[in-house]
């Protein structure tokens, strides 16, 4: 298996084996369009996103117990889930004798039921349980500042990428792929009904960095393959980009697997062993985001870059010349089949260049 994987990398490098990522871009765009429509419509049909109490505020119960009584947080969690199935309350011990339980905003009857359930669970009188409500811990000011930060970051990142790659078209392609990733990741939250908590938002922000990071790695190879000296008469611009994507494919797969393994184990343990909670929230965003981020670099960013560039007069001229050369060679090879093997020529030519 490993042997075949290394050979697979080899075949991708020489171009012996090649996936047509660029040519089939209409298929990828169609898939992306469908995914985005589902990501936008799905949550709307389901009734919007579920925000955690950190965003919405909620109800708070404080249970006062006689000094010395053992305070088990799990009892409170059980009491809450008996009244509100699937809820993820925040339970903490306060001072020496109190337990604080925070839940989503409750209606009056729910609140009364929970009130008595909590009193009963801890064996205290109902008058020892006080109910109040709490405002959002994640206030408007945090959201506002985070959005300003995001806006500034996207502008700067676009500018830095445009300067580094010396073309704004790579920048734009990377940004489109980024938005694709964010919309789909957010859509999955809406579809599954997982709560959007601060942990999930942190997850989104991580994805933002990761998605661009992954795109920069692949684009760097594209830049190399399509630079002045490298873009020879053997390949059209689109083919050169496609070769770069194929050459970095082994890296993309390896990186995604390595990044996903720890996240997947957090997600698995978070979701199936612990149930709702911070770990599950953040791991889901990361899992989807890393997967979609690696996918979009190959299937969205690279084809979009070709789409943006291929109408440039220089590229059109280059491609026409490549096709003409190819046609002539095809004519010659009719007479002497097997005489000139394109791939071995490639490899030898590369080796010559490198040795010199």
């Amino acid at each position: 298996m490993a042997r075949s994987f290394a050979e697979f990398g080899n075949a991708l490098y020489t171009g012996e084996k090649s996936f047509n990522f660029i040519g089939r871009r209409k298929v990828w765009y169609l898939i992306a369009a469908v995914m985005i429509v589902i990501s936008v419509l799905g949550p709307v049909l389901r009734g919007g996103f579920t925000f955690g109490i950190e965003f919405t505020g909620g109800s708070q119960f404080q249970i006062h117990m006689p000094a010395g009584q053992e305070r088990n947080q799990d009892i409170a969690v059980d009491a809450v889930t008996s009244v509100l199935p699937g809820a993820a309350p925040r339970v903490s011990l306060v001072g020496q004798t109190d337990i604080r339980v925070q839940t989503e905003q409750l209606e009056d009857t729910q609140s009364r039921n929970l009130h008595s359930a909590l009193a009963k669970a801890y064996g205290v009188d109902e008058s020892e349980v006080t109910a109040s409500y709490i405002g959002a811990l994640w206030g408007q000011d945090i959201t506002r500042q985070a959005l300003i930060g995001l806006g500034v970051f996207i502008l700067f990142a676009a500018l830095v990428m445009a300067l580094y790659f010396r073309t704004w078209k790579m920048s734009l392609s990377a940004m489109l792929a980024l938005f694709h990733d964010l919309i789909i990741t957010a859509g999955i939250y809406g579809l599954t009904g997982f709560e959007i908590t601060p942990a999930a938002v942190i997850g989104f922000l991580t994805i933002l960095g990761y998605s661009l990071y992954d795109t920069v790695v692949v684009f760097d190879k594209i830049r190399e393959n399509t630079s002045e000296g490298e873009l020879t008469e053997r390949r059209t611009f689109g083919e050169a980009v496609n070769l770069a994507v194929n050459q970095t494919l082994v890296r993309s797969i390896n990186t995604s697997v390595v990044a996903l393994l720890p996240v997947a184990s957090i997600l698995f343990i978070g979701a199936f062993v612990l149930g709702a909670g911070t770990l599950r929230d953040i791991a889901l965003a990361l899992f989807i985001g890393i997967l979609v981020g690696a996918y979009s670099t190959i299937f969205i960013a690279a084809p979009t870059y070709v789409l943006l560039r291929q109408k440039e007069p220089k590229i059109v001229k280059h491609d026409a010349r490549v096709l003409k050369v190819r046609e002539r060679e095809a004519g010659e090879s009719d007479d002497a089949a097997g005489d000139a093997d394109a791939d071995s020529e490639d490899a030898e030519a590369d080796a010559d260049e490198a040795v010199v």
Binding site: F5, E7, G9, N10, A11, E16, N20, G23, D74, S92, L93, V94, R100, I134, G135, L137, G139, D141, Q145, A146, G149, L150, F153, P198, V201, I202, G203, L205, T206, G209, Y210, Y213, V216, D220, K221, R251, T255, V258, A259, L260, P262, S265, I266, I269, G270, L274, G277, L279, I290, Q310, R326, E327, G338, A340, A342, D343, S344, E348, A351, A354
Partner: protein, 565 residues
């Protein structure tokens, strides 16, 4: 035998890395010995719990606090808490009238002061000063019922007519105790105030408020500069006032400059207590007064923060202050760490599977990255008040992917060079040149995200940005100071340079056209039936064309010979 330059460079890098690690351990060790550092990173509120403080805001004009004011108070308290580090406090409203502030660990008194320190900041002129430790017995002829307010009320804040017998008697009886100054934050603005210095045992009679703290637009601690522009090494607090503040302060400074003591003193009153009562040493008409006098860097910064964030017309009363446990049970952290370990184990297995013996270099590099991350987080939780939250733990685990990617990019570049037929040593050098460019570019983008979010965001987003920035820098450090030097050294061993089957760098398996030292072998592709491959390659090339290109080719073909079909 002299070592080749590549080996020397590699050794230098490894030594540099060792120095960094030893220095971090040393600095933390000194901190531990002195008793203010620990060997583990401190944990955030969600994992370790801390202190919950319930504050009741009180409007200075006696009116009920509005919803907007409450929100504003929350924002300002969050700024204050953030100003003391990246501790990810939780601040929110509770009920209609209270603010709940939860901070990690036991709150020290400085932190609580900073939070509750209230928010009402005023400028008042100093009228009388006295020794705050002792009360004078009232004079024999004093009338205990003498009115405190003069009649008629003076029109200026600095009029001596404010100093009635009643006020002077009260001043004489006043001593500076905690209780005496506790209720002063709600003192009326249009009357004199008897109060104390917040540090020195001095009591004052201050005139009515001349300027509100909300006229301060900025305040920062900086070193003062002499006339030649060279720093004098003395710390000062530089304030910037708004337009109205500039005008009013200009008038005050003209009056006070050169007046007899204590009438040349000007008091900053926060929460009813005098923060500072500096002497006016110039006429300040540009709205940029600067306060000097025996500041250290820390005390200047504290005063600057108090002045900057003090401009909220609300006072706070601490309702309760209690320990609070972690919001996430310890099961969450244990499960998170367990999941992280399982994940890392899977990464190790996958690396060995993919890169054979070379995988051990990945694992060693990740181990170095883990050690560095741990030390840096420990160091920062000591020096910067950093706290590791569960989200932070998850962030660090994701960083494994980004760090490992640098090695993967590097290894794949080396393999590419091997495929081109270079020797291993030259492949390592060429692969490194190409890989470091990519690593720096992609890490640069990540670091940009971290820096911008850190500067602009507040609360837990800021904490996240901090973690992201640290792990990105560590990634670059590890790949340049460990992975590459180790690779350069390993490339000289027989196991790797000979292309051992299990080295992960076996040229034969990688399909190199010539291997080792000028030992050619037949091109891989040609050996497998060139004719068939040729056909395949031509077809592949055709398939790789875009639809537009294919159409163009078809048209061109039809026009000439019609060979394409």
């Amino acid at each position: 035998m002299a070592s080749p330059p590549a080996v020397k460079r590699a050794r230098r890098s490894l030594i540099a890395l060792l120095v960094i690690i030893v220095a971090l351990i040393g600095v933390i060790g000194i901190g531990v010995v002195r008793g203010d550092a620990t060997w583990t990173p401190k944990l955030a509120l969600d994992l370790e719990g801390g202190t919950q403080i319930i504050l009741a805001p009180q409007n200075t004009n006696g009116q009920a606090v509005t919803r907007e004011q409450l929100q504003q108070a929350v924002a300002i308290i969050r700024q204050r808490v953030d100003a003391s580090g990246v501790s990810e406090a939780e601040i929110g409203t509770q009920g209609t009238q209270n603010i709940s502030v939860s901070i990690p660990e036991k709150a020290d008194s400085a932190t609580i002061d900073r939070i509750e320190a209230s928010a009402k900041l005023d400028f008042r002129p100093v009228l009388v000063t006295g020794d705050g430790t002792s009360a004078m017995p009232p004079a024999e002829d004093a009338d205990p019922n003498a009115p405190i307010d003069p009649s008629p009320l003076p029109t200026t804040a600095y009029d001596n007519a404010w100093l009635t017998d009643g006020l002077m008697a009260k001043f004489a009886a006043f001593t500076c105790t905690g209780d005496a100054v506790a209720g002063l934050s709600e003192a009326p603005e249009d009357r004199p105030l008897i109060t104390c210095d917040s540090e020195a045992p001095i009591k004052y009679i201050l005139g009515p408020v001349e300027l509100g703290g909300d006229s301060i637009t900025d305040a920062k601690a900086q070193l003062t500069q002499g006339q030649n522009g060279v720093t004098t090494g003395e710390w000062a607090v530089q304030m910037t006032l708004d337009a109205n503040g500039t005008k009013v302060f200009g008038q005050i400074s003209q009056r006070m400059f050169g007046a007899t003591s204590p009438l040349d003193q000007f008091a900053f009153v926060l929460d009813g207590q005098v923060l500072q009562a500096p002497r006016m040493q110039a006429q300040i008409l540009d709205g940029r007064p600067s306060i000097t006098g025996n500041f250290t860097q820390d005390s200047a910064k504290v005063l600057a923060d108090q002045l900057k964030f003090g401009a909220l017309p609300i006072g706070f009363v601490v309702q309760s202050q209690e320990d609070i446990s972690a919001t996430l049970g310890s099961s969450q952290l244990q499960a998170g760490l367990l999941a992280g370990l399982i994940g890392l184990l899977l990464v190790v297995i996958y690396s060995l599977f993919q890169y054979r013996a070379l995988g051990s270099l990945t694992i060693a590099s990740l181990a170095i990255a883990a050690i560095l991350t741990y030390l840096v987080l420990t160091f920062l939780s000591w020096r910067q008040g950093y706290r590791l939250s569960l989200a932070g733990v998850a962030g660090v685990i994701v960083a494994v992917g980004i760090t490992a990617d640098s090695f993967i990019v590097y290894f794949e570049r080396i393999r590419d060079s091997l495929r081109d037929g270079l020797s291993l040593e030259r492949s390592v050098e060429r692969g490194w040149k190409q890989a470091i460019r990519t690593v720096l570019a992609s890490d640069g983008i990540n670091f940009l995200a971290a820096a911008i979010l850190y500067i602009l965001a507040v609360g837990s987003v800021r904490g996240f940005a901090f973690t992201l920035g640290i792990t990105t820098i560590i990634d670059v450090l590890v790949v340049t100071l460990f992975t590459h030097p180790m690779m350069a050294l390993l490339a000289r061993t027989r196991f790797y340079s000979g292309g051992h089957r299990f080295s992960g760098l076996d040229p034969e398996r990688l399909g190199a056209v010539y291997r080792g030292r000028a030992q050619f072998r037949a091109p891989v592709v040609a050996s497998r039936g060139a004719a068939k491959k040729n056909l395949g390659a031509a077809k592949e090339a055709e398939r790789r064309q875009t639809i537009a290109e294919r159409k163009a080719a078809a048209t061109a073909g039809a026009a000439s010979t019609g060979k394409e079909s």
